[in-house]
C-alpha cells in the first residue's frame, strides 16, 4: 500500500496529528506575535472589521433603545415620585397657609387683648357653627357663664346662652334671639340690636330709635353701657363696634329702625374671645368720655336742642 493511499485512508487522523503537532509546537514555543500569528491576526482583524462595526452599531442601537426604555422607566418613576412629592408639598403648603392664617388671627387677638386692659378675655375655639349659633370649646369647668359677651378684635359676636361642662353655645347677632343694647357712636342715640332672622340676610336691625333722632347711613353702631351683669359689671364693653348702618326705616309712627351690617361675620369665625369681666374705664365712670370723631362729622354731632315745633316748622 502506497503512502499516499495510506494517508487518504487515514486522512482525518493525519489531519488531527498535523494540527496537534503544530498546536503543541506553537504552545511549546510560546511565541506570541510570530509571523503566522501576526498574519492571522491581520486577516482576522481585516475580515472582522465590518462585522465588528456592524456589531458595534447594533450594540449601540440596542444600548440606545434599552437606554430609552430605562430612561423612560426611570423618568416615569421619577415623575410619579415627583407627583407624590408635589401633592405632599401642596398639602404641607396648605397646612402652612392655614397655620399662617391662624397665627395672624391669634396675633391680632393678642394685640387686641393687650390693647384692652379693662377686659378679661378668654380665647376660645369655635367647634361648630350653624345658623348663627356657635359652639365653643369652653364650658362651666372653664368658668364660662350664660350672658357672657363674645367678641373678636373686629367687634361684637354675640352672647353665651347655654353652658355645658366643656362646651357652650353662643347666639350671634345673626340669630333673632340675640338682643344687645346699642347706640350710634356719632350722637349716642340708643337702641336695641337684634338679628333680622333671615338665613339669606346677614343684616341685623336696630330698633327703638326715637323718630326725632338723626341716624344716617354709614353711622357706626357700638355697644351701649346699659346692659349689665347682676354683679353690676357691664356685659359688653361700651363703645365696642357692632356694625354699620346700611339703611334707615322711617315708616314707623313712634320709632324708626336701622338695618345694620354687622362688623363680624359669624360664619367665618375660628376663634373668638369671651369677655369674662369688663371694667368700665375711668372716663366712662366719670361721665366725661370723649369720642374721637372725624372732623367732617363733628358739625352734625352737635345735639339738637330745639323744640319739636322749631325742628319741624315749615
Amino acid at each position: 500500500m502506497s503512502i499516499r493511499r495510506r494517508i487518504r485512508d487515514y486522512r482525518s487522523t493525519v489531519i488531527l496529528a498535523v494540527v496537534v503537532v503544530l498546536s503543541l509546537g506553537s504552545l511549546a514555543s510560546g511565541a506570541r506575535g510570530g509571523v503566522i500569528q501576526r498574519g492571522i491576526h491581520t486577516v482576522v482583524t481585516v475580515s472582522s472589521r465590518p462585522f465588528l462595526k456592524g456589531l458595534k452599531r447594533v450594540k449601540d442601537g440596542i444600548d440606545y433603545i434599552s437606554g430609552l426604555i430605562v430612561v423612560y422607566d426611570s423618568q416615569k418613576r421619577e415623575a410619579e415620585a415627583l407627583r407624590l412629592r408635589t401633592a405632599e408639598l401642596m398639602q404641607q403648603a396648605a397646612g402652612r397657609r392655614e397655620l399662617a392664617g391662624e397665627n395672624a388671627r391669634l396675633r391680632r387677638m393678642l394685640d387686641f387683648v393687650r390693647e384692652e386692659p379693662r377686659l378679661t378675655l378668654e380665647p376660645v375655639e369655635v367647634i361648630e357653627n350653624f345658623k348663627g349659633i356657635l359652639k365653643i370649646d369652653r364650658g362651666s369647668v372653664h368658668g364660662i357663664e350664660p350672658s357672657m359677651c363674645v367678641v373678636t378684635e373686629n367687634g361684637v359676636v354675640g352672647l353665651v346662652t347655654e353652658v355645658d361642662r366643656t362646651t357652650a353655645t353662643v347666639v350671634t347677632l345673626h340669630n333673632v334671639n340675640c338682643r344687645i343694647a346699642a347706640m350710634i357712636q356719632r350722637n349716642r342715640v340708643r337702641g336695641s340690636v337684634h338679628g333680622s332672622g333671615s338665613d339669606l340676610s346677614f343684616q341685623c336691625t336696630m330698633e327703638y330709635i326715637d323718630m326725632k333722632d338723626e341716624v344716617w347711613e354709614g353711622d357706626e353702631v357700638v355697644t351701649s353701657p346699659e346692659s349689665v351683669f347682676p354683679s353690676g359689671y357691664p356685659v359688653f364693653p361700651s363703645g365696642y363696634p357692632i356694625g354699620r348702618v346700611v339703611t334707615v326705616d322711617k315708616t314707623g309712627s313712634l320709632w324708626k329702625a336701622a338695618y345694620i351690617e354687622p362688623a363680624v361675620d359669624p360664619y367665618r369665625l375660628d376663634e373668638v374671645l369671651v369677655v369674662r369681666r369688663s371694667v368700665p374705664s375711668v372716663n366712662e365712670l366719670q361721665g366725661n368720655e370723649k369720642i374721637n370723631e372725624p372732623p367732617w362729622i363733628a358739625g352734625a354731632q352737635a345735639p339738637d336742642n330745639r323744640l319739636l315745633q322749631e325742628r319741624y316748622a315749615p
Binding site: V19, V20, L22, L27, I36, Q37, I40, K59
Partner: protein
C-alpha cells in the same frame, strides 16, 4: 465551493459572536461555547474532518481574539471535533437529549483539556478550582443552549436530515 464559503462565514461569525456578544449572557462569569457547539454540530452532520477544520478556524480566531499563544483553542477544538466525529458514527439515536449529552461531554473534555494546557504552561494556577468554577458550569451552560443552537444551525444549513442523524 459556495458551501465552503458559507461554512467559513458561519464559523467566523460564530467566533465573532463568541468573542463579542456573549458577554451579554454571561452568568457568574460563565458563557456558553458556541464555537464548540459548531464543532460538535459539524462532527455530527459532516464528520470529523469538517469538525476539525471548524475547530481550527474558530480556534484560531478565538486565540487571536483572546491574545493568547496560537494553539490553545485550536488544539482543544480539533481534539474534541475528531473525538465527537468518530463517536457520532456510532450514535444509534437522534434524540436531542443524546446530542445535548454529547455536547456536555464534549464541553467537559474541551474544558479539561484547555485547563490542562494552561496548567502545563502555568503550574501555579488551581486546575481543580478552575474546572469546578468555570469548566463544569460552562459545560452545563453550553449544553443548555444546545437544542436551540442545533435547531438554528439546522435551519441555517437547510440540512435537517443530517442534524437528525439520518445522514450519518
Amino acid at each position: 465551493m459556495k458551501k465552503h464559503f458559507y461554512w467559513a462565514f458561519v464559523v467566523i461569525a460564530t467566533a465573532l459572536i463568541q468573542t463579542t456578544w456573549l458577554d451579554a449572557v454571561r452568568v457568574q462569569g460563565v458563557v456558553p461555547d458556541l464555537t464548540l457547539l459548531l464543532v460538535v454540530y459539524f462532527a455530527i452532520t459532516d464528520g470529523e474532518e469538517r469538525a476539525m477544520f471548524t475547530g481550527v478556524l474558530g480556534g484560531m480566531y478565538q486565540d487571536v481574539a483572546s491574545d493568547a499563544v496560537l494553539g490553545h483553542y485550536v488544539l482543544c477544538n480539533v481534539v474534541v471535533g475528531y473525538g465527537v466525529g468518530r463517536m457520532s458514527r456510532r450514535l444509534l439515536s437522534d434524540h436531542p437529549a443524546i446530542k445535548t449529552a454529547l455536547v456536555l461531554c464534549a464541553a467537559l473534555v474541551h474544558g479539561i483539556l484547555y485547563t490542562a494546557i494552561l496548567y502545563v504552561q502555568k503550574p501555579d494556577i488551581s486546575a481543580i478550582r478552575t474546572i469546578g468554577v468555570s469548566v463544569i458550569p460552562g459545560a452545563f451552560y453550553t449544553a443548555l443552549v444546545t437544542p436551540v443552537a442545533l435547531f438554528l444551525l439546522s435551519r441555517v444549513f437547510q440540512n435537517r436530515k443530517a442534524v437528525q442523524g439520518e445522514a450519518a
